[in-house]
Symmetry: C2
Subunit: 345 residues, 2 copies
């Protein structure tokens, strides 16, 4: 395998570059064939890497390049303004590396809107792709993995765009998880054909007509994680609400579990024993490993980490980006989109 | 307090009338001042009540009337056809009791679309109310309760309708939970003012302008249960997706908890002890007690139970309906809507 180059926006997240540097130190060791470029405040990054080197004498920094940038895209910056005014930001310079073919993939924990706008304008979509989509892996019953898209890149979508999301999601499930004929479904407020908005019904007709898609109809939110579908398609507004509502529910349950353990020494002891015994079994539900939403449909790999990701979670986002670059995900999506477009014509 | 009369559709749920009769037997004992009418297949209902009477000698069936009906609204029936062809269904007859003022409230576990259509057409909306909304209580951190609406009665809404949902939700949080100035928020894909569809932004402006509403802006799905809002407003498509996605997530977590307990005797023992100790603490998250979505904005009380509710869950739906009738929720909503309309004019 040829050497890959990954570019990392170090200044994007809520928690500062120290998280990114810690994740990168781990990645430098796990991926000896990957070169890393990191964009951001050079003096600060140098100091952080020096500290990492002290802890870990074997850290190979020869595969690391620091590209100094003078601007930061903040979480509340407007995407349009970032496009015009933040041309020397750590995010924009990282995107440019991919756009110019000098890096195979980019990871950022920064402002999602700005990242999408920059990627869309500078890396550009693949031929035939209407809109890029933000997609994330989701856990499914039995320990497997599905994909939900779009998660917010496109708040409103037409039927053809939703159809293309189904096509691109199919490629992801095949190439990233190894599902041979990924089941595709549209997220809707009921499973009956008469249910839901017209655009969802029209997208259903397009998906049903395509021989390349294993279309299974509508599914409800309650079936997001049951494995009824490997690829769940919706507009970005709906996907964002669905995913974040699930986050909220999971947090409610786990917080209550933790809080309720504090009320009595026996509860605490039981919980401690249980967590100790069960850690491995729960690992597949650990949100850290699901960190990293991919912006797909572009002429390059762009992965968005959660803004307040931990070092472990940011490391997961890096591993997603490396895997997508290794399997040449954009080229595979392009091939599938071309095949589907030729079916239609 | 004057005697209340509640009408129950016994044939609506997925699990048949035995669930309903078991819940009713319990309600007859808990609410000695309430009269019950039950609509459905009389011979079958009589047999079920006879069985209940054998188990419980004190069951007072003098406050129960069985109204025999010959038709059933099935879960996959189309609402429009039910309106025309199912005039002697258990659901329609129950709705008519409320429409004609012969009952104070109605509970059904049947086809949601048909129930809404019948209620809208026959019970009708309150003066000034654009559309009725389906609303459910949701748990919030700290053991309190919020409300989410709409849950599917109105897949697409205009800004004025969303605004009215905020007004009606405020009344619910005040009267049902006792919150003095309920915090109202719109469910959106971000908290910044520029985020989300235009209709949500317009609804935000309307809510912000109203002196009667304690409007707190947009919230994301991740804050549904944090108590940031007592009333969360969205269109029915979005609310349905959010609520059912949360159901899916909760089921994933609890199923995995149960499954992971089966792998080793020690895990099983620990889990048993933990559940025993923690049952009370988890009670506020028990989905049964949240069963019962209310159709509000109508000239009467209509409560929709989950289709596959257990007897305990159906009993919860009955208690919600009784409480709404006791506090005369429709009259209170009407007063608030009139007050807000006069502010606007």
């Amino acid at each position: 395998m040829a050497n890959l180059t990954l570019v990392i926006d170090a200044m994007g997240g809520d928690r500062g570059p120290s998280i990114v540097v810690a994740a990168l130190a781990r990645a430098l060791q796990s991926f000896p064939d990957v070169n890393f470029i990191v964009t951001g405040d050079e003096p600060r990054l140098k100091a952080l890497f020096a500290r990492e080197s002290k802890v870990n004498k074997n850290l190979d920094l020869t595969r690391l390049t620091i590209h100094h940038t003078t601007q930061i895209v903040h979480m509340d910056d407007k995407p349009g303004e970032c496009l015009r005014k933040k041309q020397d930001s750590s995010m924009r310079v990282a995107i440019d590396y991919v756009a110019e073919g000098k890096a195979d993939a980019c990871v950022s924990a920064g402002n999602t809107g700005a990242l999408m706008a920059m990627a869309y304008l500078h890396i550009k979509t693949l031929p035939g792709v209407i809109r890029p989509a933000l997609v994330a892996p989701i856990p499914t019953a039995g320990g497997s993995q599905g994909f939900l898209l779009d998660l917010g890149a496109n708040p409103v979508c037409d039927a053809e765009t939703l159809f293309q999301f189904g096509v691109m999601g199919t490629v992801l499930a095949k190439e990233m998880v190894g599902v041979s004929e990924p089941k595709v479904a549209l997220l809707n407020m009921g499973t009956e054909e008469i249910k839901g908005p017209d655009v969802v019904k029209q997208a259903g007709l397009l998906l049903a007509q395509s021989p390349s898609i294993n279309y299974r109809g509508f599914i409800e939110g309650s079936d997001l994680f049951t494995g009824k579908a490997d690829v769940v398609v919706c507009d970005g507004f709906t996907g964002n609400i669905a995913l974040k509502s699930c986050e909220g529910m999971a947090k409610l349950v786990f917080d209550h579990f933790q809080a309720s353990m504090k009320d009595h020494w026996l509860s605490k002891a039981l919980a401690w024993l249980l967590v100790k015994r069960q850690r491995k079994s729960w690992q597949w539900l650990n949100p850290d490993q699901y960190n990293g939403a991919s912006l797909i449909g572009l002429r390059g790999v762009v992965v968005k980490s959660h803004g307040n990701a931990s070092a472990n979670a940011f490391y997961s986002a890096i591993t997603h980006a490396i895997k997508e670059a290794q399997i040449q995900l954009p080229e595979r999506i392009q091939a599938q989109v071309e095949a589907v477009l030729s079916e239609q014509s």
